[in-house]
């Protein structure tokens, strides 16, 4: 029945004061006799003592906990992001507290409140809301925050994102090259989601001086977007579909397949994100490949910088993605 072994029992057993044990724990050997050191080390070993992080955290003002708030945890983008973050913190003294917003603003907020009462030391946030005021809570508590994938505006915290605008410019070029005359953009609601906005605006800029027309279908807003989309596909003009995220891309592919719409003959398709399956289906799908693991790593690193310096100017880091050209456009 191993009673809870605390710093006190170590002190008693080793016949020193708990101060000395505490010093030992924190590597303050400046002036400690080899003998005492040895005795304490032994006792700790024997009794298999682990200092209580709660108590340490209570004294120090920090919890050594890093919070990660993601939009949707069951999502390949997210899981690769988390891999990058976890890897980074593995060899630090920090622990990572991951919370799933499940695409619900209320739930995200409740998660952040929980993080605050954990006295979390820093947060990596994939924000569900565009207005920074929504996150006043974090501003008030002066918690270091780094955003990933998306950012709030006006600018408040550093952000690590894909080069969305830039890459959409490339997509536009591709579409122009291939002589498409009309583009239908498909996305979940784009307002307030900076990554989607940037993808949209990039494409728009890219075709600015052409005759190519753009239509936007925000699929959550439209009763039956599938039928709408199908009805728009005809042979009058050469059309390209641009899906602003992976989920939408694959829904489209599945839809077209089901209705025997031939890609790219009847309609061209390009989109986010590149998936391991993109080259296994036919036609192989042309898609933009992001690097979420690197985004996570860099975000973690930025957060550490901020937590150390305490005084960093917010900056945006853009991680390059790649357009994987295949057969669907």
């Amino acid at each position: 029945m191993s009673k809870k072994v605390t710093i006190n029992v170590i002190a008693e057993t080793a016949r020193v004061s708990k101060t000395t044990v505490s010093r030992f724990l924190n590597g303050k050997f400046d002036n400690m006799s080899e003998e005492t050191k040895e005795r304490i080390a032994q006792t700790i070993e024997n009794l298999d003592y682990h200092p209580s992080r709660q108590a340490q955290a209570l004294k120090a003002k920090n919890s050594l906990l890093i919070g990660v708030s993601v939009a949707d945890i069951s999502n390949t983008y997210t899981s690769r992001l988390l891999k990058g973050i976890s890897d980074y913190f593995q060899n630090t003294i920090y622990q990572v507290l991951i919370m799933d917003g499940d695409n619900s603003i209320a739930r995200e907020y409740s998660n952040l409140e929980k993080m605050v009462s954990e006295k979390i030391d820093g947060i990596i946030l994939q924000p569900l809301v565009h207005q920074p005021e929504h996150y006043q809570l974090l501003i008030d508590e002066k918690i270091p925050v780094v955003q990933v994938d998306r950012y709030t505006e006006p600018f408040t915290w550093s952000a690590v994102v894909s080069d969305n605008f830039q890459k959409s410019l490339e997509v536009a070029e591709l579409i122009i090259d291939k002589k498409y005359e009309e583009i239908i953009i498909l996305a979940n609601h784009i307002n307030g989601v900076s990554s989607r906005m940037n993808r949209y605006n990039g494409l728009k800029s890219g075709v600015e001086n052409t005759n190519i027309s753009i239509k936007l279908i925000e699929i959550d807003d439209i009763e039956n977007w599938q039928n709408l989309l199908l009805s728009m596909i005809d042979s009058k003009t050469k059309k390209a579909l641009y899906a602003l995220n992976g989920q939408v891309l694959w829904e489209i592919i599945r839809l077209l397949k089901k209705h025997n719409v031939s890609i790219p003959d009847d309609v061209g398709v390009i989109g986010y994100d590149d998936d391991m399956f993109a080259d296994m289906i036919s036609p192989e799908i042309t898609a933009v490949s992001q690097n979420p693991q690197e985004i996570g790593r860099i975000a973690a690193d930025n957060l550490m910088q901020i937590m150390d310096n305490h005084t960093t100017v917010p900056k945006t880091t853009r991680i390059p993605s790649t357009v994987q050209i295949r057969e669907s456009l």
Copy 2:
């Protein structure tokens, strides 16, 4: 400059003792005047006070933290598992600490040590090691543990897993029906991973009284398993490939595609796990569909039971999966 608002400042501002505030926080209104209650509520509201979890945890013996140790966080099975777990704990007072073992036994162990020093209240573990002695640490500390996906043997803790053996029996039936004469099982090392063992043994049992022969290729052990596999595929006997996990399944499909081996004409293919793309490639892939989200939910629920009762007999819960019959076998 919002100074740290503690229970003391609430007490002072509301002109009561911290005892009373504490009672309020813990919902002990048994005998509290409406007026005091109201006043405290107001003060907390005004000062935007959040009790410190550290301090609460220090007093209580528990941290209100649940640890989740997964084999590999960047993996669709895992992310759906985590969704189930996160969902469950969302409306409890517990927080979830997710740690990625990255398929490294050393890293998993280091994670568990960290969890122990967090005085974590319970752990959901997807074990990398089959021998429970490896987890002596957790046994010593008497931490409630529920295993997911796999389990250690001999039996130590409850486990929530897929009905692997059962489903492999079904796979065997299917293979028999289709008149296959030989089965090649492909997997990462199966020793010590109960889910893979059960899939293997289920298939073996299923073909026991037939002439069907079985070969096992453990791909991490073989220099160039791709060539080995290709060399085994000939037209002498009708062969089926059975991939014991998703990653392997898709590697095989990609390999066969690349070498123009026709499925199911040259060789039949079936495997774990069913993925959203299984019906988008041609031929559509026959695969076993697990329910990791449900596994996560049930595991979380079991853990709660154990943490409450303090005295539960370990049990194994098998969550049904489904064989999705398509065209590849």
